[in-house]
Point group: C2
Chain length 339, copies 2
DNA sequence: ACAGAATATGTTATCGATAACTAAAACATG
DNA sequence: CATGTTTTAGTTATCGATAACATATTCTGT
């Protein structure tokens, strides 16, 4: 018998030999599958422990053509937002006995596509994407492969497969209408450069909808050069004040808004008397700000949990709703005037 | 020939048949290994593309007993700190052609051990751990397995394998000495509950070292009930003011310190005149605070990059230093009195 | 006590790919 | 042109585990 690569001890064969049983008996015993007597099962478990047996998931995945793996793609990890979603999701995924592998795309659909290609070689049972805007090739790839796919954070009535998210445009409209109702008339929106964060652009569009409904338009959109979110908020704020004379400033997110708020404090601008400030997401930091931000609470954790549940259902061929939009809630803070 | 499980098209066999060559030729062509003529190689590549060939990494990993995988364990993702380290690391890892899979332990060494057990079934070529305090079983497991292991963030002269991190106690001493030099005499430290974040406890010990060197001790340690870091900072701050009358407050991190600073602003306490505030990490938010925090800049990204490089070297049997401690830098801000 | 059912265990083929070794074809060299 | 090289391509065994099918053993009820 030719054995060029030496068989290291510790695999299922070694255990079988040691226990004097066949491979299958060991395999069954290790997996807890029925068909092995209690006595044998214990005996085998003991031997496995003694031999420091570590199952080989690669072999198992190959044999079963299934790695019990779910791939998750996020724009980045620098953001409590996605961490919340992810945490909710992971709990559910792991509870169901699957593993998740996470990667980041830095808001690039090219990266996302490349990530997917790599992921597919591992034969995942499910895929989670952030947002609904992807490289066209990605959509085709996933649909052709038939792998259950969840799009989250964002909402689309025509998802690749299923979707649990927020209708950002509607959310923008919602907060926009509230701000309009407070009588603000000269809004400005501060975000990041066009094309980078499409959800944020949807929000901005929703805000503009609300203002244009009362005859106010356009809502100028401003962005500062790349930096941390806090800094971009602060810089964008300065730029806004130079070029416009807003009575309310919408920010891409609370991070940005904190930057803006701090800048306002430093500049001696009184909030909300002289100027309103509006964020998005209701992040943890909001709880400790000197003026609580007026913002929009997004059900991030819940979205993660529900998304994962639906994806798991889909994986198990249980029918689920194709597209679910979760409601958001306007948080009335101290950075806008009272009603 | 018995073929109970049908062979789906799209694998290496299908390509071989289509191209009229053997398996090995396809295998070699796909891997870019030498031994295939240019013409054949192109022909095979074209067919693979046409057939939507997706390599099966599970099979490859099994055959090579190596998945080119590096497992990374972090306490959590809610923290820019680890995100920085991770980003630095990933770049280097992926550049070298490896994949990384990340998981979080929520500061639990039990979770970490369970994670490792799962990871090992995938036959990783390297492992990255955060910190140097682990379940004893984990240390033994890794050393017995012989898998190159990097411990990061923290520093130890006796790592499991190799280590690139910060000497947190020394860092605590460093900032402590600076604060002592400013003449502060009644320090308080605000952190989280004992046993949760051991690095932070080291820092606190270092701070205490610095004060005890000038005869001031103890440095009371305070913590608030679980909440977000910002909130714990703010609550801890209130507790500190009730129970003690500090002239300087050290916080576990900048997150906590921001919570404290905001609380101070709300309470009308003038910083730094009445009270000094000291953070840790020099996070992005510091750039936009009304008073820039006095804090400690930690080389997080660099740590990730260097850690990854050393781990990769170790994986390739290139000798590297066992333990590297990176220097930190005191950032002099506006939340402590001037020299 | 004995046939049929239920339980326990073994045998063989496969999963998709790579390593090691072999064989054939193309190139050189004197 | 014969022979030794180099290149290119094929054959066979394996990686570690599971599925499907076959077989042996233990129960069960009559």
């Amino acid at each position: 018998m030719k054995r060029s690569r030496s068989r290291k001890k510790g695999d299922i064969h070694a255990i079988a030999k040691e226990a004097g049983v066949s491979l299958m008996t060991v395999s069954r015993a290790m997996r807890g599958v029925e068909g092995v007597s209690e006595a044998r099962r214990n005996e085998i478990a003991a031997i496995a422990r003694r031999l420091n047996y570590v199952p080989n998931s690669n072999a198992r995945a190959l044999a079963m053509d299934n790695a019990n793996l779910i791939g998750v793609s996020l724009p980045n990890l620098f953001n409590d937002v996605f961490a919340d979603v992810l945490n909710g999701m992971r709990g559910a995924i792991e509870y169901a006995g699957y593993s998740s592998i996470v990667d980041t795309t830095d808001y690039s659909s090219k990266n996302e596509l490349a990530w997917l290609e790599r992921l597919l070689t591992w034969r995942p049972v499910g895929v989670v994407l952030t947002g609904v805007d992807h490289d066209p090739a990605l959509r085709e790839r996933l649909q052709k492969s038939g792998i259950p796919t969840l799009e989250t954070w964002d909402f689309s009535i025509d998802p690749i497969d299923i979707c649990v998210g927020i209708d950002h445009r509607a959310a923008g409209r919602q907060i926009g209408e509230y701000i309009v109702s407070l009588g603000y008339q000269r809004p400005v929106y501060i975000g990041t450069k066009p094309g980078r964060d499409l959800r944020a652009e949807d929000r901005a569009a929703g805000i503009a909808d609300a203002f244009s409904a009362v005859g106010i338009q356009p809502v100028p959109r401003i962005f500062a050069p790349d930096a941390s979110n806090f800094v971009m908020g602060a810089r964008g704020f300065s730029i806004a004040l130079e070029g416009y004379s807003p009575d309310v400033v919408f920010f891409l997110s609370d991070h940005y808004a904190v930057g803006g708020l701090m800048a306002a404090i430093k500049m001696g601008i009184s909030v909300p008397d002289q100027l309103g400030i509006v964020g998005y997401n209701d992040l943890a930091i909001n709880a400790i700000l000197p003026h609580r931000l007026t913002t929009v609470r997004t059900p991030r954790r819940q979205m993660g949990i529900m998304g994962a549940r639906n994806l798991l259902a889909r994986i198990n061929n249980v029918p689920v709703e194709k597209a679910i939009s979760l409601p958001v809630e306007v948080v009335i803070g101290d950075t806008t005037r009272q009603q």
